[in-house]
Symmetry: C2
Subunit: 196 residues, 2 copies
């Protein structure tokens, strides 16, 4: 059977990553979202093993010691991590595992994983990004400033990624990533080929 | 302007490379065939600079000394080489330069070029390859044996390539390579992006 791969997607907040990935899930067979492990309490409607793997503090830290995460972060006093075994199992089943993550997380994954595919989604320009964030109408001026500041920081990591998608028109961005996934499926190291 | 790239395509004789590339030329803008430099005489209908660059023996050997070829070979007492400057110029113009070449040539290109994309086109099986070669009805039994022997040798180089296309159905093989080309256009090092 052909192997899948880990698809890491980053890009500034507001650039449209979520929408792109949502639509791709409907276009591509074999796509699954990575499921994080966390110490935070389960919320209404969340399903163990689908939304998150919920674990205790001490269990999480034991896993940390055992290097069982591709990356992890502590946010508001809770741990969040990407479990290696989940990702590897899915890849061996031929799945493409999507990990939408910020540049810091992506760089940590890169250190801990040999064979990921790294896509950066960028806005056509900073002005356009600001228009999109303002267009949501949910952010204060101060929030927008923070997001724009962070965006510039994230954009400085583009060269660390394999592919750059400039999200000018959402449908071409979706199509571009769809083609990248199809191309990556043909990488020689993923194909189980026997000519005899 | 975005940069193009060199697309090296190999695969056993009879696998369908020529047909695939011919159809791709009609589907993709910016595709050009690499133009070889040779010492053999111009044939009826061939155009200098389009079909071949024709040169003398001594000029060719001077270019060889100056490392002006990505690869070269001597066949029936004539030299054939892939000129570096032609390929680099086209890449800088944003073109994708197609080089259909055997595995030995491809391995030499790989040594002399940093940023090529290497695709291997393989048959679904050796039996199927033999059926296709026999189907042409142009080869003697001895020729077929030589081709099959060479095919096994070529197939042993698959791991040296980036992508593997199994040419089971010609239209999906064309589509697969088309998507690989589109994906490769999005490699970060080829994209001229300025967010300001």
């Amino acid at each position: 059977m052909n192997k899948g791969f880990l698809l890491v997607v980053s890009g500034p907040s507001g650039v449209g990553k979520g929408t792109i990935l949502h639509d791709l899930m409907n276009m591509q067979k074999n796509l699954v979202y990575s499921v994080s492990c966390t110490t935070r309490k389960k919320r209404e409607g969340e399903i163990e093993g689908i939304s998150y793997f919920i674990t205790t503090y001490s269990e999480f830290e034991k896993k940390l010691d055992n290097k069982e995460f591709l990356e992890y972060a502590k946010v508001h006093n809770n741990y969040y991590g990407t479990p290696k075994d989940f990702v590897e199992q899915k890849i061996n089943e031929g799945k493409i595992v999507i990990l939408e993550i910020d540049v810091q997380g992506a760089m940590n994954v890169k250190k801990n994983s040999k064979d990921g595919v790294y896509i950066f989604v960028a806005p056509p320009s900073l002005d356009e990004l600001q228009r999109r964030i303002k267009g949501r109408g949910t952010e204060t001026e101060a929030d927008i400033d923070i997001r724009m500041h962070n965006a510039v920081g994230e954009l400085s990591y583009i060269q660390e990624y394999d592919y750059l998608i400039i999200n000018d028109h959402i449908n071409s961005a979706i199509n571009d990533i769809n083609e990248i996934i199809n191309a990556e499926k043909h990488k020689v190291n993923r194909i189980d080929y026997n000519f005899n």
